[in-house]
């Protein structure tokens, strides 16, 4: 009897921490959206009937998708170079990728504020080169948000892809080559299919991370480029519309969980080793 309860006893404090301080509050947030006196789905009807709110959701989706595609492409190609680089260069490149990753999101977004601002480096550079005659602000545009987000997530993608590429057994690529496959053939028929499940896992991290981000859209997008994260904060802490904020939170949870579940299913299906 004692031995049957022991495993549960050891796990109990952690379970309680999650249940009480995550489960309870998040469920309450979700329930708030259904307990509106105007009807069970009133907050959602309000959300989707408002052109502004739909724009925010759509913009967030757009930014997250573009960020994901760019980060995956840039990350994969760079990881390919890193994985095939000489050992010494490789360790330096990995340090160069890890360092930004460990630097906080506020610091990294701030850097782009310095670069893209009206008196920023990019403007000074373009002025000095005579490409533009007057400085213009690149801040508070969708482009600024996307650049800063790609900057945020490329290191993560590089490290994920290096891990994925190094996990592919060399026997497989050797076998393909010795059976007459060209270099491109090995890449297309062996490496890419084996890398795709790992790429999907990385892409999900980037998508959910950018979909729910706060600091980057706040600093580089401002009010003009409101995204779901900044919108939630504004509703909750500036307007004190907690039902509205909870509705945004619920939509974020649904989108995130749906993406994670669907994509991990897809990754499992596409895995040539497991299939």
């Amino acid at each position: 009897m004692k031995n049957r309860l022991l495993p549960w006893g050891l796990a109990l404090p952690a379970i309680l921490l999650v249940a009480i301080f995550l489960g309870l509050p998040v469920i309450e947030t979700l329930l708030t959206t259904f307990a509106d006196p105007k009807g069970a789905f009133a907050p959602y009807i309000k959300f989707f009937n408002s052109g502004f709110r739909r724009t925010v959701l759509w913009r967030t989706m757009e930014v997250a998708v573009i960020t994901t595609v760019l980060s995956v492409l840039i990350g994969f190609v760079t990881a390919w170079v890193v994985a095939n680089a000489p050992a010494k260069a490789k360790s330096y490149l990995i340090i160069a990728a890890v360092f930004p990753l460990l630097t906080g999101v506020v610091v990294r977004s701030f850097a782009w504020l310095v670069i893209l601002g009206k008196n920023g480096i990019l403007n000074s550079l373009l002025l000095a080169l005579g490409i533009i005659s007057e400085p213009f602000s690149m801040l508070y545009t969708q482009g600024a948000v996307i650049v800063a987000m790609v900057y945020l997530f490329v290191p993560l993608m590089i490290l994920t892809c290096v891990g994925v590429l190094e996990g592919i057994p060399q026997d497989l690529t050797d076998a393909a080559a010795s059976l007459g496959a060209t270099q491109w053939g090995v890449f297309k028929q062996v490496i890419l299919p084996m890398a795709v499940p790992g790429l999907i896992v990385g892409a999900v991290l980037v998508f959910t991370g950018s979909f729910t981000s706060y600091a980057t859209p706040q600093l580089l997008g401002g009010e003009r480029q409101m995204m779901m994260g900044t919108f939630l904060h504004q509703r909750a802490m500036v307007v004190f519309d907690w039902v509205g904020a909870s509705t945004i939170a619920a939509i974020m949870v649904v989108v995130t969980l749906a993406t994670v579940l669907l994509m991990s299913k897809l990754a499992r299906k596409l895995n040539p080793v497991a299939g």
Partner: protein, 262 residues
Amino acid sequence: MKRKLHPALIAFAVLVFIFLTGPLVIIIGSSLSSSEFLEFPPQGLSLRWYENAFDISAFRRTMGTSFFLAVAGTALSMLVGVPAAYAMARYRVQLPGWLGNVFVLPVLIPEIVLGFSIMKTITTGYEVPVLPSLLIGHALLVLPYCVRVTGASLNSFDFSIEEAAVSLGCPRWKAFFIVILPNIRAGLIAAFILAFITSLNDVSISLFLTGPGVSTLPIQLLAHMEQFFDPTIASVSVVLMFITVGVMAVVERTLGLTFLTK
């Protein structure tokens, strides 16, 4: 799997690494500026903005809070997370498989939703003071790292060593401390460091939980940035970067950085 690389690919990778490191170099450069404005390259060099950063009491105070939260939050999380990871690795048959998913919920639920919900239910609803709420929020935030990273090293641990100690008369609880913990040391250090950095840099949870007089450094930085645009931010950022470098040196020493690609 070394292959010959096309020069175009190498050129592309070089550009990517300039893209990755350039902005950080720019921050370091502009933090050393002697003028009132953020500029790069700096016109003159000085350390005045570092002085200014330490002069502003809000930065000193919030840095203290951030450190306290990162250390105490991670410690709390390890305290509940390590036994859970041990239970899941040691008693794999007795515990259901979904239990592992419970502990990754804090990364699955969007951070900002978690922060908002804790603020609404715990801080406002149950009137828990600001600092304990923050501590709980941070402990939750880092729990996935504590459980997963520790769990990974426990999974490669040979539990027959523990059995040997127990059968030779060592009490179970003592075996945990003198046999198991020393053997998973690398995993514990890695978990602690990842958790520490995550907590130190957190914005989305602290955003809702900071109250009057209690704030964290990243939140204070955000607030400062909305009012002033001087090199103080850059110098605080550089201080944070140096902390990161220190942490990376520890990781390199204990585990090797390739650990992070796994």
